[in-house]
Amino acid sequence: MLETLDQTPFIHAVVTTGSFVIFAIGLVGVLSKKNLFKIFLSFSLMESALFLFFIGSHYARGKQAPIATDAFTLFDDRMVDPVPQAMILTTIVIGIAVLALALSFVVRYHRLSGHIRIDRMDELGDAS
């Protein structure tokens, strides 16, 4: 029975379903949370979910990391695809940069206004 659990399609199904459940949780957070900090953290959660999905989908049973070691010296398709990993490396850093910037804005906003609730942000709009 454990053998069937170790097959690639099953692994893919688990990874895909699991990461999209996390994605959904993050999306609910973005849509319903009022605290700005929590909203941006929910975005982080959604991004992490996508990273897990992408990398997990490219894994297949028996494949190795794309790094030449003493055991594996040939770069062929017994190695995992390196491009998704490179893409995700880049995107993780972008995610951190955007999160840091967003949180610095939230901190400055808090110093100027005293709150960080999105439903009390009423400076903009036609009435003002």
Binding site: V30, L36, I39, F40, F43, M46, E47, L50, F53, F54, S57, H58, V83, P84, M87, T90, T91, I94, A97, V98, L101, A102, F105, V106, R108, Y109, L112, S113, M121, E123, L124, G125, D126, S128
Partner: protein, 464 residues
């Protein structure tokens, strides 16, 4: 001469900022002149296909064809104009860095031909836009920037998922490779990817129903930055979305749906502008309306209409730069951007310029906007969409209402606040107004350029 120098030069200038932090206006001007020269040199050799890192279709590709040349030209022109305008200002590293990266990002968006590379430039342009919004560092600015970041992150995530699905299903990241293989995907996967792209780009190109936040952003950002947003940012995303769309070759139903979305955008924006009491918001809604028309025209997939759309994009960029920069002067003089402030300043020069801007956006002859709209209508009628022409004309009546209401404020109110405008700024603003008149009277060459650009645009991506 490498295409990449259009990206490398601005980035180099930005990274080396600490070494000349007191002479940034001159550096900005020199940079814009250098980019204009490079573009001129490259323009004669179009179409150009350039590989990055290693000369193979497996690498990142950059394209310069008539369509991307048009947009790159408009952006560099605006960059040069802005550099000239700020020549007398104090050397401000924050302004210089963010503005220059903004332009570099916009140029990358129109030149790159690789999906993930485009995502990177997408993020570069977005982050510089967030920073530009918060540039004044006041409470409104931060509120606007935070809202912008929230909706912008949604767009990024949708685009990231679309890019991931494309790589999973197709295996390649260059646009030509994707274009070749997209039609072989199962139908529901195709529609899912198109839907994700529509939402992601819909947010960034500011069409209905994703543009409910845009007026807030324009209100929060410094007034001159709004000019850059109107003229450069939304246009870059428009170009990119349609470049992708034309390359993916979807069903005609998709095009019809997008045309209706553009029309709805136009309608909702103009109605919202009617009840506005803040000038920046009114101008923002006007921009949204024009984007709706451009979106509608680009989605029609017809060569004449698309060339009209490109002409519209160019002339609208000039008009909105003029309007927002003039509004900035009014704001500084009267201290307010409420509608009432529009009646309080005394400057026949600015009154003339505002009139020119409004009339061009409306599409009144003999100004440039008229040629643009006329070309679009002509093409739409010939392609069998006459009812759309009538709808647009009808909605333009609303546009006319609020523009003429503003102009009447100029005519009958007591103008108490005199405005002093430095002669350099007068010349630059005047040149924009003159441009609108000249393009309206002698559109020949410009229209020819737009027609060639439209051909290249509709042909999809060059083959590698």
């Amino acid at each position: 001469m490498s295409l990449l120098s259009l990206i490398a030069l601005p980035l180099l200038a930005v990274f080396l900022t600490p070494f000349y932090r007191n002479r940034l206006p001159i550096v900005s001007l020199l940079l814009s002149l250098a980019l204009a020269t490079v573009l001129g040199i490259l323009a004669v050799r179009i179409p150009i296909v350039e590989y990055v890192s290693f000369a193979s279709p497996l690498g990142i590709v950059f394209f310069l064809d008539a369509a991307s040349l048009f947009f790159a030209g408009v952006f560099i022109g605006i960059m040069l104009w802005t550099a000239l305008y700020t020549l007398q200002h104090k050397s401000d590293p924050a302004c210089f860095v963010v503005r220059t990266v903004f332009f570099a990002g916009a140029l990358g968006l129109v030149l790159s031909g690789d999906l993930f590379n485009l995502y990177i430039f997408f993020e570069i342009a977005s982050i510089s836009a967030y920073l530009l919004t918060a540039l004044r560092q006041d409470q409104k600015g931060y509120a606007g920037a935070i809202k912008y970041m929230i909706i912008g992150s949604v767009a990024s995530i949708f685009l990231l998922l679309a890019a991931m699905l494309i790589y999973l299903n197709i295996g390649y990241l260059t646009l030509p490779a994707i274009a070749e293989r997209f039609a072989t995907l199962p139908r529901d996967t195709q529609y899912l990817i198109l839907l994700l792209l529509f939402v992601g780009f819909g947010i960034k190109t500011e069409i209905f129903p994703f543009n409910l936040w845009v007026a807030d952003i324009y209100q929060a950002a410094p007034t001159r930055v709004d000019g850059l947003f109107s003229a450069v940012l939304s246009k870059a995303y428009l170009f990119l979305f349609f470049r992708l769309l034309y390359a993916l070759r979807p069903e005609p139903d998709v095009y019809m749906f997008l045309m209706l979305t553009g029309l709805a955008s136009f309608a909702v924006a103009e109605f919202s502008a009617l009840t506005g009491r803040d000038l920046k918001r009114i101008f923002a809604y006007s921009t949204l309306g024009q984007i709706g028309v451009a979106f509608l025209a680009l989605a029609s997939h017809d060569p004449v209409v698309v060339s009209g759309a490109l002409f519209l994009i160019g002339t609208h960029a000039i008009a909105k730069m003029l309007l927002f920069f003039a509004l900035a002067i009014v704001e500084k003089g009267t201290g307010s951007v409420r509608v009432e402030a529009f009646g309080r300043f005394r400057s026949p020069f600015l009154t003339g310029l505002f009139t020119l801007g409004f009339l061009s956006v409306l599409g009144i002859p003999p100004l440039a906007g008229f040629i643009a709209k006329w070309t679009v209508f002509k093409g739409l009628a010939a392609a069998g969409h006459l009812w759309i022409v009538f709808a647009v004309l009808l909605i333009s009546l609303i546009e006319a209402t609020y523009f003429f209401r503003l102009l009447s404020l100029r005519a009958r109110s007591e103008k108490s606040v005199p405005l002093t405008i430095p002669p350099g700024h007068k010349v630059l603003l005047g040149s924009l107004g003159l441009g609108l008149i000249l393009l309206g009277l002698f559109p020949g060459t410009a229209l020819e350029l737009c027609t060639r650009a439209a051909e290249a645009f509709l042909a999809g991506v060059p083959h590698v």
